[in-house]
Subunit: 266 residues, 2 copies
Amino acid sequence: MTIMCQLLGMNCATPTDITFSFSGFAERGGRTDHHADGWGIAFFEDKGCRLFIDHESAVTSPIAQLVKNYPIKSRNVIAHIRKATQGAVELENCHPFMRELWGRHWIFAHNGTLKDYNPPLNGLYQPVGTTDSEQAFCFLMQGLRARFDRQAPADLGQVFEVLLELVPGIKRHGEFNFLLSNGQGLLAHCTSKLWYVVRGWPFREAHLADMDMSIDFSQSTMPQDRVAVIATQPLTDNEEWTQFESGELILFEKGLPTRKAVTGRA
Amino acid sequence: MTIMCQLLGMNCATPTDITFSFSGFAERGGRTDHHADGWGIAFFEDKGCRLFIDHESAVTSPIAQLVKNYPIKSRNVIAHIRKATQGAVELENCHPFMRELWGRHWIFAHNGTLKDYNPPLNGLYQPVGTTDSEQAFCFLMQGLRARFDRQAPADLGQVFEVLLELVPGIKRHGEFNFLLSNGQGLLAHCTSKLWYVVRGWPFREAHLADMDMSIDFSQSTMPQDRVAVIATQPLTDNEEWTQFESGELILFEKGLPTRKAVTGRA
């Protein structure tokens, strides 16, 4: 078992609820793992975004209970369970973090620790809490804004290209596994540990690794459905998960990886 | 009964839960009133902020049930029940809205309709949804940032002064009752309908106007506690509520009105 934070992301072709994956993931927030210093989850519904954060353990939190039982349908979800390595256990230090850029909400969660990291922030985005993670997020937002100015890029492929330039300077400071979304797709970067699985038609049964719970997705899915789930460790024990390469950045759109590259390679 | 949105705010000397007031307020989201087009509530816990929004009615929403039953202790709370007058019933149009400025979250909710309102936004803050309200919020954030640049003002008294300058240009477009907070205090402005009550030691019993529910605050309070509740209509029927003057802006700090002025008076 890892002793750091855990990430969970979902990117889908059609609005999908994440209650099954979140149930297994939340077990790691205190029961099957050591990540009991708060948690959070963000759901995009088109441009709208719901962000739930809590400094209680994801196992005991009443808000986590709500999320497990209330099937919010979303195309992009980012969740995080925190083990405090930098920053006190305060609400303002709980991931994911949210900022607005180009009239869209952006959501970010990070796993890892950045040492001696003090990026040159110009004030357009300032951290509210004291984590290295929120500093990195503010720096990425600032960098994206600087590159495209007031006009949003046409698609996340262009954002992908800018991240390839911005990420190497950050990951020199330590582990930088992160998930980033603006509701149109999901960007995932790995320096040490991140996996994904793509579920598509015909769907089949999946069994959680962290608790004895199965779901037969073939009973509730349609041919146009497709779901990519990204996690620090595989959440199920009977599906084929793909491990990210070290340094790999992947853009997920409509439930599929659409762009892949390794950051910082000459 | 009004046919527009309803606002609820709370500003306290010590962290206080709002479950009692919210229970009465939520009744207006579909049962005792016509505000069934979504709702939202934001709780500050020091600098951290939890924002719950939902496009279901506040009467039936599972998230509203959670908020009614989960006593989150906060010094500043802003809630809103929406009757759509401008903008579709989408999640991104649900109040309150959140933005970051000077390393703090800012929360804004508005009651009223602004007609022909297209403020000159420079791109630093852009609306995610399509409401007149979020446009006004972005304009206020832009104006505050422009006035103080990168350095946060020393206190909300300085923000109060800038709002006195910015608000008259907005309220020319229509009703502009709003609540604004950054977690340090709460600013409330009224053009048509807003009331407040201050509860202090010794506390006594309060009875909700919208449902037969009472609470004896003297059983659970201490001498240092003090709570200001601000609402579109008085929430209780056995307390003395003070009505805002038309155009009045009030700053609440530690459960008390500390600054009052009328906007747009020469």
